[in-house]
């Protein structure tokens, strides 16, 4: 199995050149991505240049970094200097940022090679990657099904074996939900541990960048590379990011695991069954598993669908045709702005801008935005109580496995329900991980989720590592690339 860490070790020891690794993956992408459509843009030249540079540095005896030569795919809402960053929106179709996101700089510094920009729901709003102005991404396990979203491209790229690592952003589950549906590891860090500088904002108080990978160890390694204080992000915590790798194999002996009914009941029976099997795995490894109830978690979804659109309505105001991006001319500046936004945004983005504008309007603010903020506080307090009895919580990541393309596009409420198990962690700013744990009767991947209090990433990764060791062996997806190696 060629994980990112194995690849990096091979490159660092010059057993294989970075250029060979990159060529192999570029070839796999060129050959297989037509059917998956994980990528909006593949950066052949940039990747080759960077790989050649790494090989020179290795030949010169320099340390090329912990992820030397590892190909990484990044969600197309992360700014890459001189490379279009579209957010899957017509309004930014040709926009090239003049700067790199902090996470991109950190990837390069670690020797990782950005090979392409991946598809997403427009401005990260959606749970299926169908809200992309550039066409949907297909689930590598069932091409007629969604990969989840909004980071569907990053999840599918890793699932198909096109890259061992990818970055996504998670505002209400946008890393964990597609990771679960595509059978890969996906992790949302504690709010403030990974810089948001260069992440095109959806809902600033909830957005957090995190890793996708085939293995827990790879996710931990990528988290360590991208985490840590950044003076360019005022909400970045002024402290080193929690360590994730060094205690990865410490096990869960003596750990208290809570199993909240709200994250198990009400999900598809096959998903619930895998969560219970995962609980048994942890118990067998020495953890104490206790069923519990956190009723406030059910308030998360409605609160989220007021707060996130409210922030989005403001964050997306700047796309007005004046300075950059699409401009559709009009009689006067107001008409130009109207025409630009009408033509540039897709239906779901417009829906959320309207929802959010309404929630913040005079006379409605208290009833909607204000109330949702109170619910957010309730959820934080409820987690606080639960974590007096438990060190981590275990639950489902998604209510169902991957659904067919088109199944929910006309039913926003049904689509929004996909995030029911993931939004509470965003509202609380807590870390959470999903790892693949078996498949349903149709062979579609199931994910289980581990949640922990703020800054308890080490617990999250340790628990996930134990589950990974006992999870059913992965099956190759039908759209597996030549570079797919499983776990």
């Amino acid at each position: 199995v060629t994980t990112a860490l194995v690849l990096a070790e091979q490159v660092r020891s010059a057993a294989v050149s970075a250029s060979e690794v990159i060529e192999r993956h570029l070839a796999a992408i060129d050959e297989s991505d037509g059917a998956v459509h994980a990528f909006l843009r593949v950066l052949h030249d940039d990747a080759r240049r960077q790989a050649a540079d790494l090989d020179d540095r290795i030949a010169a005896g320099e340390d090329p970094g912990p992820l030397a030569g590892v190909p990484v795919a990044v969600k197309d809402n992360l700014c890459t200097r001189g490379v279009p960053t579209t957010c899957s929106s017509r309004i930014l179709a040709d926009w090239c940022p003049p700067y790199d996101a902090t996470v991109i700089e950190r990837l390069r510094h670690a020797g990782a090679v950005v090979v392409g920009k991946t598809n997403l729901d427009e401005f990260a709003m959606g749970s299926s990657t169908e809200n992309s102005a550039f066409g949907p991404t297909h689930n590598p396990y069932a091409p007629d099904r969604v990969p989840g979203g909004s980071s569907g491209g990053s999840a599918a790229a890793v699932a198909a074996g096109l890259v061992p690592l990818a970055l996504g952003s998670d505002t209400g589950g946008s890393i964990r939900q597609p990771a679960a549906l595509c059978g890969v590891v996906g992790m949302k860090p504690t709010y403030g541990t990974v810089s948001r500088f260069g992440l095109v904002a959806f809902a600033s108080s909830l957005d957090q960048i995190g890793p996708f990978s085939a293995t827990v160890a790879d996710a931990a390694a990528l988290f360590e590379v991208i985490g840590g204080h950044d003076p360019l992000d005022s909400t970045s915590l002024d402290r080193p990011a929690p360590r994730a790798v060094e205690n990865l194999d410490d096990g869960v002996d003596g750990l208290r695991v809570g199993l909240p009914r709200e994250l198990v009941d009400g999900v598809a029976p096959e998903v619930a069954a895998q969560v219970r099997r995962a609980a048994e795995v942890l118990a067998a490894a020495g953890a104490t598993v206790t069923e519990c109830s956190i009723p406030e978690l059910t308030l998360g979804l409605p609160a989220y669908y007021l707060l996130a659109p409210a922030e989005a309505s403001s964050n997306l105001s700047r796309y007005d045709g004046v300075r950059y991006g699409l401009r559709v001319d009009g009689e006067d500046v107001e008409a130009m702005m109207r025409a630009t936004r009408a033509a540039g945004f897709g239906a779901e983005v417009k829906r959320r801008i309207m929802l959010g504008t309404y929630a913040l309007s005079a006379g409605y603010y208290d009833a909607y935005y204000g109330q949702a903020q109170k619910v957010r506080t309730l959820i934080i307090n409820a987690f606080g109580r639960a974590y007096k009895e438990a060190d981590v919580l275990l639950g489902a990541t998604t209510p169902t496995t991957a659904f067919p393309l088109g199944a929910k596009v006309d039913d926003p409420m049904a689509m929004y329900m996909s995030d029911v198990c993931t939004v509470p962690s965003n509202l609380a700013g807590h870390p959470a991980i999903t790892i693949p744990f078996g498949v349903d009767a149709e062979g579609l991947p199931i994910g289980v989720q581990v949640l922990a209090p703020a800054l308890c990433e080490p617990l999250v990764f340790r628990t996930a590592a134990v589950l990974e060791g006992e999870a059913p062996a992965p099956v190759a997806p039908v759209l597996a690339a030549a570079t797919w190696t499983g776990r």
Binding site: L78, C79, T85, C87, L92, W95, P97, P98, Y99, A101, R196, F197, G198, L199, V200, A201, A203, S204, S205, P231, L232, D233, S234, T235, A310, E311, S313, S314, S317, R318, D320, V322, R323, Y324, D332, V333, E334, M337, T357, L360, S361, A362, Y365, Y369
Partner: protein
Amino acid sequence: MTPPPSPAPAGTRGWEPVIGLEVHCELRTVTKLFCGCRNAFGDEPNTNICPTCLGLPGSLPVLNAMAVELAMRIGTALHCDIRPSLFHRKNYFYPDMPKDYQISQYDEPINVNGWLELPDGSRVGVERAHMEEDTGKTSHIGGGGRIHDAQYSLVDYNRAGVPLVEIVSRPDIRSAAQARLYAAELRGILIATGASDGRMEEGSMRVDANVSVRRPDAEFGTRCEIKNLNSLRSLVRAIEYEITRQIEVLESGGTVAQQTRHWDEDQGTTGALRSKEEAFDYRYFPEPDLVRVVPDASWQAEVAAAVGAMPADRRAGLAALLGPEGSTGAKADQIATVVEHGLDALMTAAVSAGIGPALALARTANEASADPERARALDPAAYTALLRMEQSGTLSATQAKDVLGALLENGGDPVELARRRGYEALATDSLAAVMDELIAAHPDEWQRYLGGDNKLAGFFTGLAMQATDKKANGKAVAQELQRRRR
């Protein structure tokens, strides 16, 4: 101290104007409020810009600590409570606002509940003084320069993100004249704290006026907000116009509509911009990209220590040097001038070194204040030396002013400057010898002078000047003439 009752000004026919001012002041920081771009006026358009102040996707604001410090200095000078504060987003679409929202403090401003004492002894309450970012600047090309008729518009984002403090007074002002006093005094405070250069003509201090009228002791009337007041003169004219307009509306049986009105400097009128119903819904909500600003006690103490004496205290200090006449008309005006230009230290240094306060005040207020920038850089010892020469009669007033001009221009030693101009006056005994010769040469005229014909004083002074190549000091000649008549 309670404000003295201000009589309703003439022409208000028993109506009492109620005025509150909102003053925006650009802070004199090196960089902008949320990014590292230069905060400078008058540079080439769109040269002081970056992803953050252009609001590019993915950019984030980082608060400038110096801006917070200057805001706290303003709060300290205005006797405000300095509080933990929060930024909000004020949402509305406008092309010169890069993010289409403005980051501004809303219901948790940094400074609240202060006051400002005016030179006339009245006191105006300050409701709040909060931080926010400035917008860019739009120029409408064609169609008379108005947005709706323009062929196209150009936007300069150099100003976008420049730190502002908005100082909101309570509705304690009762006349246009008092509004002018308040604005002028506030300007002095902004300059004295180092927070702003207070240049209204460059837009670094901008004033909006809320004006209403009422019968004394009645409830406040409906107010109108007047914008586009670019000088103290237009502030006074606009308020006077608006007071008259509202009184006429009310006296003809109408009601004043709550409006934002635009001052037209050329027409000398205000016109409606938008009514209350058309007012924007700004959809304020807490700015999620920034954290709460919580200045700790030691930082606050540091700032308070750094804020020097305010103009009112400094005026009182200078007035005390002059004794009773220091608080009267002409002298009080001169003192205000000295303080306004920050020359009180220069004047005080001279007085401490033995220069008479009246002379020190006159030269500082009249001559030094004409070139305040250079005067502030003047060596107090040189300034004192010059005034001493004038005081002792070594230099005439005219000569002293001339030497002061040279001193301001190029600096140097005033004694040497006077000498180079040939102003080194004759020693008193050599002047006496010259006078003896002149008297001997014109005995008839001298007798008439001794007999009381004062016109002859001018005759002898002229001769003395001629004989000394104009080096004689007029005052010293007069003294010689007087001495000999006794």
